[in-house]
Symmetry: C2
Amino acid sequence: MSRIETLDARTVELLARFRTGAVPALARAISVVEGQRPGFQALLHEVMASGPQARRIGFTGPPGAGKSSLVAAAATTYRVRDEHVGVVAVDPTSPYSGGALLGDRIRMNDVATDPGIFIRSMATRGSLGGLATTTKEVVDLMDGFGFARILIETVGVGQTELEITAAADTVVVVLVPESGDAIQAMKAGLMEIADVFVVNKADRPGSARLVKELRQALHLRAGSALKDIPAHHGVDLGRALKRERTTDSAAQEVEDWPVPVLTTNALTNEGVDDLVDAVERHRSWLVESGQLEERRRDRAEGRVRDVVNRELQRITWSSDEVRRLLGEGVLGIAGGEETPYSVARRITDALLR
Amino acid sequence: MSRIETLDARTVELLARFRTGAVPALARAISVVEGQRPGFQALLHEVMASGPQARRIGFTGPPGAGKSSLVAAAATTYRVRDEHVGVVAVDPTSPYSGGALLGDRIRMNDVATDPGIFIRSMATRGSLGGLATTTKEVVDLMDGFGFARILIETVGVGQTELEITAAADTVVVVLVPESGDAIQAMKAGLMEIADVFVVNKADRPGSARLVKELRQALHLRAGSALKDIPAHHGVDLGRALKRERTTDSAAQEVEDWPVPVLTTNALTNEGVDDLVDAVERHRSWLVESGQLEERRRDRAEGRVRDVVNRELQRITWSSDEVRRLLGEGVLGIAGGEETPYSVARRITDALLR
């Protein structure tokens, strides 16, 4: 594969160390990508040249569902099975869940002393919905580095949980009895994105009922082929719908994936083995049904769009002419001779003429 | 002011009705902008030609703080004072707060029968952080329509509450005893964005303590001039910092704004009059200190950037050549001959050559 730009000496050296499996080189590569330092795109291009290899597993759900603990437990289980695991935790730095998050992070540190596991916590700064392009790029770095399983934890708030479908091969939706009933999960579009449902903290009252409700809802959904349900949501389910449709057509050869509803107690490790088994079974189904290829193609397209949009913004706002037009324009708006729309028009005209 | 494009007959007619103060024309204009229908930018350009007139007041805080009830109470108070009020509520369609939101919305309907008030609830779909460009454009339409006060309600989750500073002249941060202590508010950057603090549901235990803590924290902050605090946050406080700095320089003529900590009970209307008084006092301070001009200039610059970025994306992804390059590129990535970065490079080169 050709290079997209000439690599400078530092990047060449970094890539060489990265390819020997030196963990500090991975950490350094992540810093370069997070900071969008010169050459970061060329670095990603080189690292991604061999294509995706890792199994990417997303964990999402409402705050307080114990996702971090469950991710730590799943990571430990993978380590017992001798798989190298990367973890990307998207930390919304929300003050209101500060206590719970801190507790979870401490637990995460238990597994952080193992060299076969690499954990990266990221802020959501400047990002759409929940998963910044940079976050996805860090996942790609971990993949290129050789982690066989990458666990991506996102806090589901509003619609952000839907974005995980664009980053993961398998989506695990984590609920607890306190997070509401199956109707709420349906309303939130969680039925469409879940490849595996987990009711965590299963020793709490109400968990058996939630499991039963989720199974009933999934059964109803399978019966109606779900085609009409997304129209009732206020949320964008384009991606989820796409999955549904593909599943329908692929169903001629391979049976639909029966979304399991599992129970876990991350703190005692109960049910975590079964969860990991279910995730691995889903992987086999993805390959057999052709869905993996489909999801990867969607992901590649989304990444191209993200990178082009980011690059256009970078080029635009670092242009001297654009900055001059912006400065003059803001004065014109203050003086009542312009609006943001007339200024914006002048800038786009200058860029694309 | 010149036009940015020739207006079509429907837009001319819509503008004429809009300018007579016909509420259906406002609703129609909002639909045109929300749907980004042809000519929506020309429409905004015309509506915004007279510059901002309304006082824009943002209400933010954690879920469950009773923001919607407080906004409804403040809107009612403004109506008693004979001011026309527009309300924009950003609804994250979160399933987990579904019940509370529904209760709040019903309460909102009490005031919705009054013709001097216009309420618009918006989803956060496809937006950065919390306030989509479209949301801000709807605020501009309400301003251009003639509402003297516009109340913007956003749910604060993670960093989204910081974005309200880019949309409002005055930011009211609403807390309840359950939302944590003053330290958490400081960590969340709320100290930097609040022009007025409100402890709502003030009849609950712990509210007096929270008020005291907030006042102490504000006092400490005033003492240290706050210059060092933002560096400790993981969040982007560029805008907030900017405000601080400007305040410092303006302080030579006008005293710093002393952020009040008020208590309310939105359900019984207690303290709401004082809150509205404080907001109006802040307005006078904004004008005298030169901060209003500053905030409006920042807002104009931000809007130009948003509009240019959106327009570049629209032009890019509707180009036949770009779509062809994208389609071919995705196949190339699947075949292992390309990465998203080499495809993105080809697309940006094609656009900007």
